[in-house]
Structures are given as structure tokens and as C-alpha cells.
Symmetry: C2
Subunit: 332 residues, 2 copies
């Protein structure tokens, strides 16, 4: 029997939890507020293995309970947007993204924090999802696998947006590792206790895993199903007014991650006509009828599923790093 | 066997359907748009029995997909707000409410339209509700009873806000008769096809009944269960920040109109503590976790249920009005 050597990866001493990147996605807003209240009593969490920084990422939008004030903050972290020219009259979020990047990054630099977990909600029936830009970031995939094991009752998927690190645009891309933790369904501007609790439990398991990893323990390898985003589909729209002319078909509504086949019903127009999916291959729909994507021209997204093998990993300890090389290493 | 004479009531020749009084409650917005599109092709609906005017009530809020721009339009139609002093710098909705009142009212005057049906959505699991200021407006109660018969599969309730005509504050109070047609659950800013269809079918049945009534036919009497609003309950809040510190308890969430007993769970705090209902009597909860009521300090409303007997009614025809009095009359 072949024994696979654990891949050695740098420890994750600086972890950041963000909520309220979208000010009306309330699970993260209230979870971060609650954790901050605990911190005031317990001091900053730093047990020698890691420090956790809690951030309410878009305070002005949170105050107004809106997704954003001027523009979507979670699209402002691409290299181009962070480094382009900016004036005093630039959208608030463009300016604020640079502040966050200075605090948590700079993106792509050795000084960037080790991991950013950004908390989100969706009106789509997606359960708990990780959204990441890589399908081979063993840290993110191991954390996901750990959550799957710890919360077997929770529908859980790993979504991969195939975008380069440079072009990646969301807040979590500022960290050396990062992902969005997306939970739904929940209307924006509402807190549902079950969704809040799922996020709270998920975050505790994430921090537990990082502590375990930082301690030097081995995390066993295995498999993760990864949903790689292929394309978006917009609503049918009136050519003159650009208003939508149909809603998600009732047979498709709430069926995120149920395979959509060619000719399956996709939309029902407001006058009652059914429209079907005209693609060539069956794909997995997600973000079905997400509120905030009406303005982005996205009625749903479609993904291809694949199984990714992840190796066992463990943290490279400083002593071992200096003297011996007992395990495979990826990043030297 | 006693035969109950039908109560004679004035016909309802001028009917108004409103959508988008709250700009992010999308079923009404898209239904009115769709009906207006039909009207452009078919001429204004006026078959001699009635005319139907379709109104998108808060165009600026609709454009921004927000509940309102400056203040809640659907709280601007009390006598005091409509007749008080107003400057050019008054909130947009205060000024706009006067325009609507001039067009559809004036409220309380003989020139007011006969019936206003104002279309709304809620994030609460309320099914289809009528919300009215009277528990003895036979027109509204008969329309409700008609809908119950026509849509037996749809959970349906009649909610009574016990407020005087003068103090009534919502757009539907501008008509001689009026009610809000509230359907949920649906996140604001989202259209769900099943909710849209329920509203569309409901509106068709409402118009059918009015046409039937205006034709002079008798509508049989019967009973309607009326939920009279007793009080609102706010979320627990932090005394300093005024932020909420708990969500609706998972056992109560989505259980609108299921009797709430003293000591039943009401909230779960963000740190995990359960809080119970401290009232003295069992009451019916509704608007549980309605998104827009966070800012109004309402986590849920509570109602008492009673059964109201409604008499048979028919329209007073002009000939009969002039010569004979074949049936009981209420309004002379």
C-alpha cells in the first residue's frame, strides 16, 4: 500500500473574518458583531496558534442596510481597480477597497494576511457554499472537507470561479488564501435564525481546523466535488425598456445544484409562456434567482462538476523548515 | 326558514389596481406592467360594467428597486398628512401622496374611486392576505370570500387593522372601498413565479367578482374569519446601539397564523439564548420577520381571530333606486 506523504504548507497565523461586505446580507453582519462583543470581553483571540481579526467590511452600506452605497465593493479588488488612478469623487467603495487592501493585503504581497473568509448570504436555495478562485488551493479544499464532515446535515458545495489571481475581484482575494462563505436561502435585509446558526457553526469549524492545522497535525487527503462556473444566463428582457419579461420557472426555482438538462423549463414569462434551456449539455444551476444579480443580468449561473483529489497536508513548522525536510513541499 | 334580504350597495364602476407602492415588492410591479401592456393592445378595460385603472404608485422607488425614496409612501395617506402644510423640501413621498390623492380621491369625498386594490409582497410566510381597516365592509369581505372559494389551495386570511377612516394611512384608504392584497413569502427585490401567478389569478377573480356584482347579481352571504391586529412585538435590542440582539426563533419562523401560546419560543439571541412569549393570552402571529419592519420596530404582529357574518348583497341598480325598494339598504 502506498503511503502518500503530506504536503507541507506555511502556517496560517493571521486569519480574517469579514461580514457586511454586502451591507444587507445580515448573517455575517450580526455574527461579526456578536464575535466582536465576545472579543471585548475575552481580548483578541490569539492563543499562539493564530490571531483572528473581525472586520465589518462596508460600514456605510451596513448602516443603510443596502448591498452597497455607490458600487459593489466585492467587485473592487482586482489588480486593475486597486492600482488604477482614483480621484476624490470616485465611488465610495473604490476608495474604501484600497483602505481594506492596505489593512489586509496588499493583495499578492508577502505582507497579506494568510486567510480571508468573507461571509455572505444569498436568496438562492444554495445551502452552504465556498466560492473560491482556485480548484487546487489545498487549504481551502481541506477546510471545506472538514466542514462537510462536521456538518453532515448541511447541503454544502465548493464553487470554483476560474479567474486568475490578478483578475480576481472579491475581498477574499486579498488574502494569501481566501473564500466567500455563502449561505442561503435568506432574503437580504432579514436574519433567519437557522441560517445565522449554520454560519456561526461553520465559522467555528473553520477556526477549529486552522488551529488544528497550525498545531502541526496532519489533515488526511481525500476528494472534493468542485463546481466550476461555466456561464451565466440572463432573464428574458424587453428590448426597449430592458425590464425582465419572465421569472425563473417554478420547476427550476429552489433547485440549485440539481442537474439542468437541455429542454428543461427555465423561465415562465409574465404572460404565462414557458421557455426552456437551450444549452447542449446538462449543467448544474446555482445562484438561481439571486436578488442582487437582477442588475448584473444574471438569472442563474451554470457549472460543470468534477472530482478533485486533495493530498494530505500539514503545516511546515519553523524548526523542521530550518533543519530537515520530512515531507513533500509545494511552495519552495 | 327565514330568507335574508340582500343588502343593496352602490355599484363599483371605478376600480383601481396599484402596484409598486413599495418599489421593491415586485409581483405587483410586474403584474401592473403586464396588464398595462395588454391594455395598450386592447384599449382600457371598460365593458360598461366597470373601468379599471392601473397605477404604478411609486415610480421613482420602482426605478431604484427600493421600498421608498425618502419615506414610506404607504404611511402618507392619513387625513393629517394629506392636509398638513408642505414645503418644496418635503419628502418626495409626502408630495407624491397628494398627487395620488388628487388623482384617485380625494379621500373621503364623493369623487373618490370606488375601490382601490393595492398589491404588496412580504418576506413573511403569510400566503395571500387582505388587509383592511374595516371588519364590516361587505364589499371587501365578499371579494375575500369569493377568492377563498375560487382558490381553495391558497392559504388566505383577512386582516383587520382597527384604525378610523380618518387615521387610516395607506394608499388603499383613498378609495370608497379598499384593501391591500399581500402575498408571501417572497424576498423583496425578487420575483418568484408561483407568487406572481397567485397574485395574477387573485386579481382576475377580484375583477370577476366586481363585474358580477355590478351586473346586479346577488352574492350569497356567509362567514369570514377576521384577524384583528392587537399589537406588535419588537426584536430585543441593544440599549446603546439599538441593534437587534436576536432573531425570530426557528420554531416560530414561517409559522404565521399558527396560534402562539404564552411561554412559546419567540426569539433566539445571537449568542444562543431562547426567549419566550410573555403575553397572557394565545394570539395569532403574522408578519413574522418581515424585512421592511426591522426599521419600524416590528418583529411580528399579533391578532385575535373572530368569525364575522356577512349578509347577501347586491348592487343597487339605478331604476330600482328611483322607483322601488326591493331589498334592504344600508347607505341611505
Amino acid at each position: 500500500m502506498e503511503v502518500v506523504e503530506p504536503v507541507c504548507l506555511p502556517r496560517l497565523p493571521r486569519v480574517v473574518l469579514c461580514g457586511g461586505t454586502h451591507g444587507n446580507e445580515l448573517s455575517g453582519v450580526y455574527l461579526i458583531r456578536d464575535l466582536l462583543k465576545e472579543v471585548q470581553q475575552k481580548e483578541m483571540e490569539d492563543d499562539g496558534l493564530m490571531s483572528v481579526l473581525m472586520v465589518l467590511s462596508n460600514p456605510w452600506a451596513i448602516q443603510q442596510c443596502r448591498r452597497y452605497v455607490d458600487t459593489d465593493l466585492n467587485r473592487c479588488f482586482s489588480h486593475a481597480t486597486l492600482s488604477g488612478p482614483v480621484s476624490d469623487t470616485a465611488p465610495y467603495e473604490i476608495i474604501w477597497a484600497r483602505e481594506l487592501n492596505a489593512m489586509l493585503g496588499p493583495k499578492g504581497s508577502p505582507g497579506a494576511v494568510d486567510l480571508v473568509c468573507d461571509l455572505h448570504n444569498t436568496t438562492a436555495n444554495m445551502g452552504l457554499c465556498f466560492i473560491a478562485y482556485s480548484d487546487n488551493d489545498w487549504i481551502c479544499l481541506h477546510i471545506f472537507k472538514h466542514l462537510q464532515r462536521q456538518m453532515p446535515e448541511m447541503p454544502m458545495r465548493f464553487i470554483h470561479f476560474d479567474v486568475s489571481k490578478k483578475e480576481s475581484y472579491s475581498l477574499d482575494s486579498v488574502g494569501k488564501h481566501g473564500f466567500a462563505l455563502e449561505i442561503g436561502p435568506q432574503p437580504h435585509g432579514v436574519v433567519r435564525s437557522n441560517i445565522y446558526t449554520a454560519m456561526k457553526v461553520g465559522v467555528q469549524h473553520i477556526l477549529d481546523w486552522i488551529r488544528h492545522f497550525n498545531s502541526g497535525a496532519v489533515s488526511e487527503g481525500g476528494y472534493v466535488d468542485v463546481f466550476t462556473m461555466v456561464k451565466n444566463i440572463d432573464y428574458p428582457r424587453d428590448s426597449q425598456t430592458h425590464n425582465i419579461t419572465a421569472a425563473i420557472h417554478p420547476h427550476l426555482q429552489d433547485r440549485d445544484f440539481c442537474l439542468l438538462h437541455p429542454e428543461d423549463p427555465l423561465f415562465r414569462t409574465f404572460s404565462g409562456e414557458d421557455l426552456t434551456y437551450k444549452g447542449n449539455e446538462p449543467l448544474y444551476p446555482f445562484f438561481i434567482n439571486e436578488c442582487s444579480y437582477y442588475e448584473k443580468g444574471i438569472a442563474l449561473s451554470l457549472a460543470r462538476k468534477k472530482r478533485v483529489m486533495i493530498p494530505p497536508i500539514r503545516a511546515r513548522t519553523e524548526e523542521k523548515q530550518a533543519s530537515e525536510r520530512p515531507c513533500a513541499s509545494e511552495e519552495d
